[in-house]
Symmetry: C2
Subunit: 425 residues, 2 copies
């Protein structure tokens, strides 16, 4: 970029508080918009994405070139890279969100007090949803679509690596939103991608009603350390499959293989296998065979049966590998299995394979996780698989949202209290 262009760009970067003010004002309009208008905005934004595909891919090429020039890893560059089909997929995502039911206005519950006061809880938008994310430019579109549909302004802060792509995508989204008669500031992108700006973003209390960080450990830690706005953490998944003594071993085998290998790099993939000792001698050789290509790390009980398996230490049992490794423990009882899961689990998804009703009930009740799964793969913990149509993340915290976060989790509730002149005695 020439120094002249840089100077212009500098002037075009609006100060963060002003961007926040605009998002907040726009949020008030989006909050009261009908479902039809919001859906029209999503459709128009999708059209504009497709129309701008060449421009987006060109801007993206700048980002990719910059990343490659600075020696960024191939994996990260792949996350960054867009082509026409990826832009089409982003547009398709927006159209799909448009087909989902509008969460706003749902009467969650309601009752009448003895004094005649009528109380109802109604689902309403959060206001401004802040999303801070890393290198995937599709998040700009995906997050904006979900925020808008739930009646919120989307206040987006991507990484410097994807700034050219994000700017071009955001421009298309803003134009689309305007076509439907909603304020352009229903989508606001922060173009200052400095570290200071990220911290300031996390501290816009009174502006950002909910912050959703989408990224790795260092981003999450930065949020924990700096944020004063409310946030929902999309955390690790150290997911277990426990094979009970009563398990159908064919079923268990299929579930373990699916949970571990169907897509090892995602948070709902299984990282650890726990086997009841009564079936370990039969099951472990089968599973070792079926998991060919997966490196197993086992405890003593495992290695007594599978001597070639490397020993697993505490770190291995606590690890979210996200690749073709799996820790394995043999436990003498269901209690020990539950203890193991409690000790090492990250509160994401924990599965039991069993034919014993009492064991299933105990596992479901005593294991503390966003999702507890009986006789199915851990891979089902996902907004689409749960039927939410789309998700903005999977929360591993317990406040506000737990598990896959769909449109409902991008809303809050409001009490509506109706009287006939009621005063308090």
């Amino acid at each position: 970029m020439s120094s002249r262009r840089r100077a212009v760009a500098f002037h075009l970067v609006t100060a963060l508080p002003e961007l926040g003010r605009r998002a907040k004002m726009a949020g008030r309009v989006v909050a009261c918009a009908s479902g039809a208008v919001k859906d029209a905005a999503l459709e128009a934004a999708a059209d504009l994405l497709v129309q701008s595909a060449a421009e987006i891919v060109e801007a993206n090429a700048e980002d990719v070139a910059r990343a490659e020039a600075t020696g960024t890893s191939a994996t990260v560059v792949d996350r960054l890279r867009l082509d026409a089909s990826r832009v089409e997929a982003m547009a398709g995502g927006l159209r799909q969100v448009a087909t989902l039911p509008d969460p706003v206005g749902e009467v969650v519950d309601g009752w009448v007090r003895p004094n005649g006061l009528r109380i109802s809880r109604v689902r309403v938008p959060l206001g401004v949803v802040g999303v801070i994310y890393e290198n995937r430019p599709n998040v700009t579109s995906d997050a904006a679509g979900l925020c808008l549909k739930a009646g919120n302004a989307a206040f987006l802060r991507g990484s410097s690596a994807a700034i050219s792509s994000n700017r071009t995508i955001a421009r298309a989204l803003r134009e689309g939103v305007a076509k439907a008669g909603l304020p352009t500031d229903a989508v606001v992108l922060v173009e200052d991608t400095s570290r200071e700006s990220a911290v300031a973003f996390m501290r816009l209390r009174g502006v950002i009603d909910c912050l959703v960080p989408r990224g790795g450990h260092s981003l999450i830690q930065a949020v924990l350390d700096n944020a004063t706005v409310p946030y929902v953490i999309d955390g690790d998944g150290n997911c277990h499959v426990y094979v009970d003594q009563s398990a159908d071993l064919d079923m268990a085998l299929a579930i373990v293989v699916n949970a571990k290998t169907q897509r090892p790099s995602v948070c709902n993939a299984a990282e650890s296998l726990v086997v009841h000792e009564a079936v370990a001698e039969r099951f472990l050789p089968l599973v070792a065979d079926a998991l060919e290509g997966v490196e197993l790390l086992g405890d003593q009980g495992t290695r007594a049966i599978l001597p070639d398996v490397a020993p697993a230490d505490d770190e291995a049992f606590a690890a979210e590998f996200l690749d073709l490794r799996m820790s394995v423990a043999v436990t003498p009882t269901l209690d020990d299995a539950i203890d193991h899961v409690r000790r090492y689990g990250s509160g994401h998804t924990e599965a039991i394979v069993t034919s014993d009703l009492a064991a299933a009930r105990r596992f479901v009740n005593e294991v503390d996780a966003a999702a507890v799964v009986v006789n199915a793969s851990t891979r089902f913990t996902d907004g689409e698989q749960f039927g939410f149509g789309a998700e903005i993340g999977i929360s591993t915290q317990k406040l506000h949202a737990r598990g896959p976060m769909g449109l409902r989790e991008l809303t809050t509730v409001k009490y509506v209290v109706e009287g006939d002149g009621h005063i308090r005695a």
Copy 2:
């Protein structure tokens, strides 16, 4: 305290991480306890509070003497002070919580996916609820009771000013809980009341599942600045009553007087009156008369009708007075009234008095607050008035809990996923 006693006390103060570990372990047991056992624990704790009343009042006298010796204000000393009837009231609070329905186990919703996977969302305890609070020793008992009933361990951190009272109360509660067969560490009091300990408490991520701060601005700010655990803020209430042009003015008068004067020191008391100009000339003299003893601060429109009223600046309109003062604005339209409320409101409770259905609908939809009230006093935003039986606070944030927080808000949900060997394609 002699130096020998101090040394002993020092050794008795268990380190915070160890206390956290105990609370977490105890929480697992409480989480699975039946409603009957939890209620028995609450009853036993209530009995023990009453039996320990003399001891509690004696310990409290130490706290009060210390506070008075250091020149603490009379108001604060009054909050700190306990007598036999206040201890009785604490016990009564626990017994009342025992009569409430158990929130744990409620199936919030459930559905079957096209592939036959059964999904349900079940209400479960949070785990460990941290409560950090100021000088009122009754919070020790009230908070512990609500946490326990919702299946959580109560991890309590009161102020140094109330430490003798809190220690004695916590001991009674712990004994009561043990009598019902629950772990004593279902109630854990942090006895190190240093500032460092408070900060460390707010950073016990992985131990505290939800932090509820109960106190003034400086405590809230300390939580915003330091907490890494999830928290729910119980914020200010700058509550408005808007008197529409179509209002029944007798009703409006009764509501304004009730909202302002029935208990001015609480967060759901009204702080600001907004009057449509079409009725201002009739209504303002009536209300000035009825609010005798309340200092009014008005805008130009108000002062044109009530010339003796002092002028209100921005600060006055933004103020949560918590005493017998009230800001007054006259607005030409409903839109201006809504703008005024949006500008100055704190998101707690906003009321409209009107007989116009369209005005009521617009106010309800467009005002963003935990509670919007039509034709009733703002004073109804309260856990008991809403029918929750008791409350641990009133949230003015939008995540997790909004408005009065009862037992339900001290829980989270868990997805239970049941298959027949389902794997993901």
